[in-house]
Symmetry: C2
Subunit: 178 residues, 2 copies
């Protein structure tokens, strides 16, 4: 059969990579392993992504898009959005880490940066008009939800409950300025 022209190699590689990311972590993700599992040569992934960084950058971009979609669905309430954010992050332990590890990503990749800003704006939107104080509010809100996700994922604080009620209770410690 067709040894050449797999047809949708790029998509399949991304899928396999996402699986590995969640099941085994970034460090276990190698281009050569992906190639083996997809049944192609060891250099095939490089053709599609250039470098390993290129692959991770694409995964991160997809991640921010998924996150933005969830935030968009969560509505206009800051705490609703916060809960949605945390739940998405906790649900994607491998990917979420990659999204924030700038060392692994190509920060000059415009689609990635755009997706990141989009996700940010969905959270900022819950705070009303953009004054100076609102921007600080948004920073605090983002830092809090991001920190909660990282704390949970790191496993450093096993006492954190990630059910909705506990999360909401936690997020309520944040009170936007007057």
């Amino acid at each position: 059969m067709e040894t050449y022209h797999h047809g949708s190699l790029r998509a399949e590689l991304l899928g396999l990579a996402a699986e590995t990311l969640e099941s085994s972590g970034v460090h276990a993700l190698s281009l050569r392993d992906l190639a083996r599992r997809a049944g192609v040569s060891h250099a095939a992934p490089i053709h599609h992504f250039g470098t390993r960084t290129g692959l991770l950058t694409e995964l991160a971009r997809q991640g921010f898009e998924g996150l933005a979609a969830v935030l968009s669905d969560a509505g206009d309430d800051l705490y609703d959005a916060g809960v949605a954010y945390v739940r998405w992050g906790v649900g994607h332990p491998g990917l979420y880490g990659v999204m924030w590890q700038t060392e692994l990503l190509d920060r000059t990749h415009e689609p990635l940066e755009r997706a990141r800003r989009d996700a940010w704006h969905h959270l900022e939107r819950c705070l009303g008009p953009s004054t100076e104080a609102r921007r600080t509010d948004a920073l605090a809100a983002f830092a809090l939800v991001h920190g909660v996700v990282q704390l949970i994922l790191s496993g450093a604080e096993p006492r954190i409950q990630d059910d909705e009620a506990s999360l909401r209770d936690l997020l309520r410690r944040l009170t936007p300025a007057s």
Copy 2:
């Protein structure tokens, strides 16, 4: 001179590793490069740390100790401690990332976990007696400062100012429960 028995190889390797970590990031930190720069054989670092994970674990432990010391000096006020935390994190961009990247560390290493808990307790101490609500307060406080550091280090939000006044203003969005 003495080819064998460098005298303080372990300490020198840790120092070189810390330098590389801050100047070039984790990914640029290799045991073999450390060995070259210390003028020893490529396997010498392995003798002292077992694995690369072992080296990073030791660095992280030192990191938490340094962080705990800074928090201890910051006094009893939650916001003072928060500012001190953020400033320490921002001042150690490479190391701070390693400290929270569990994939790179040996989480069963008791000295590391003890140092981590110590740092935590220094922050929790600012909140008074340990009730249920206080613990949630502590979680929120930790998540917020941690998130702020990560946001700054990631460079995703260049608008964050890390001078003391701006940081304090940001941290004030957090109000512990009654």
